[in-house]
Symmetry: C2
């Protein structure tokens, strides 16, 4: 079976968490909207009245007859299919819990450049963005990153992975989170990164995995840009 | 086994989605922070360095040796334990997908009165809140509520439940979502509710279920208030 991934073709966005899992699993997949027809098939899907279980928004993954949406939900599925999460109930829930916590921070990072509305331009909410970014950098990033550092420190199997002693989709997502933050907030992260050595090492370790390294060097990895979730607006960095 | 729920004792908040599932399942549980010792045991847990898999934030549920956090993750677990979700992979993922979409809207509703920072008072971000609430009511609520209406309409088993023909935790959460919106935005919901008849009927149907009705009439149901996620600030309603 060849998976079909439906996501915006010009950003990493939330789709990137799925792409990383597919790449690490060496799964066969088509990134549908990046084909010749661009976004059309994705938007057609979202509008198709015959779909009994419609996605609310991209990303969504077609796996045979299944259409699965919500990033963390797709990863829950891929984790089970491709051994990217433990098979035990406790391990499976813990991995998912970490993923959902990463998703919460991703949403906060998005809202820091769009604190009023996604439908408005950044320029129309720049003053509010500056205020929100200040709190993100001073309060939220230290809280979240400190948490993931603690999770690594307390892992009874050592600080190499977030969950037990094998890579899970939560590690891939933690890599993407740190990579995004390093891009968006280079100054703040230079300071914050020093306080989370295990998390930064996890980021580097994931980036060096053969399949991930090959993916990151390929044309399939979309470059960070200012239409994405993680945006480099120097005025928001501290 | 008696579950232990850890959540803030004076608000419905995200804990309420868990409480509703526990109540509908007739599960034995203690709402720990509402005991004599108030929040202390919850905060002690969050600070306890001996916990290998710490929660990032409440709510979290203790189930024997398991400590599970993240609302949607707790419901994933309870859904499996108490038949509050289908047992098939497709049904389980679809239920979770709907829950995660509800969670996204809950976060947007929270941020509409706290668009800059949770650590600031509402009064310190009132102007921004007004702007954000306008977009929430005009754009986001119609989009989300229209989506859930569509899910009910398209359910091949009829519009009585979100998933197949039995109650799931997603229905309980949809009830809580609508109840919260009716409290927070009575004017906007009087208008929007008319366009989502199946969703409003679902809300009423869940409220009338014997165990839920008994719960809602009990002291265990905390009254809505302005420390909660759903807040009635007339200046934000439209």
């Amino acid at each position: 079976m060849v998976y079909e991934l439906y996501y915006w073709p010009t950003i990493q966005g939330r789709g990137e968490f799925v792409r990383l899992a597919l790449e690490e699993a060496s799964a066969r997949y088509v990134d549908v909207a990046r084909g010749d027809s661009a976004e059309d098939p994705m938007l057609a899907y979202l509008d198709d009245k015959r779909i009994a279980r419609p996605p609310f928004a991209p990303p969504f993954l077609k796996a045979g007859k299944l259409i699965i949406a919500q990033t963390a939900n797709i990863l829950l599925f891929l984790g089970e299919q491709h051994r990217l999460a433990p098979a035990t109930t406790a391990g499976r829930l813990w991995t998912h819990q970490l993923q959902l916590t990463i998703a919460d921070l991703v949403a906060e990072v998005h809202d820091c450049h769009h604190p009023i509305a996604s439908s408005l331009y950044y320029e129309d909410q720049k003053r509010e963005a500056k205020r929100r970014a200040h709190h993100l950098i001073r309060e939220r990033l230290p809280k979240y990153l400190g948490y993931f550092e603690r999770v690594l420190e307390r892992n009874p199997r050592g600080p190499k992975f977030l969950v037990e002693s094998r890579l899970t989709y939560a590690d891939l997502s933690a890599f993407q989170l740190v990579a995004g933050l390093l891009y968006a907030f280079p100054k703040a992260m230079a300071r914050l990164g020093r306080r989370q050595p295990n998390l930064m090492r996890l980021h580097n370790r994931v980036a060096a995995r053969p399949r991930i390294a090959a993916y990151l060097a390929s044309q399939r990895r979309i470059a960070p840009n200012e239409d994405d979730i993680f945006r480099r607006y120097p005025e928001l960095d501290e």
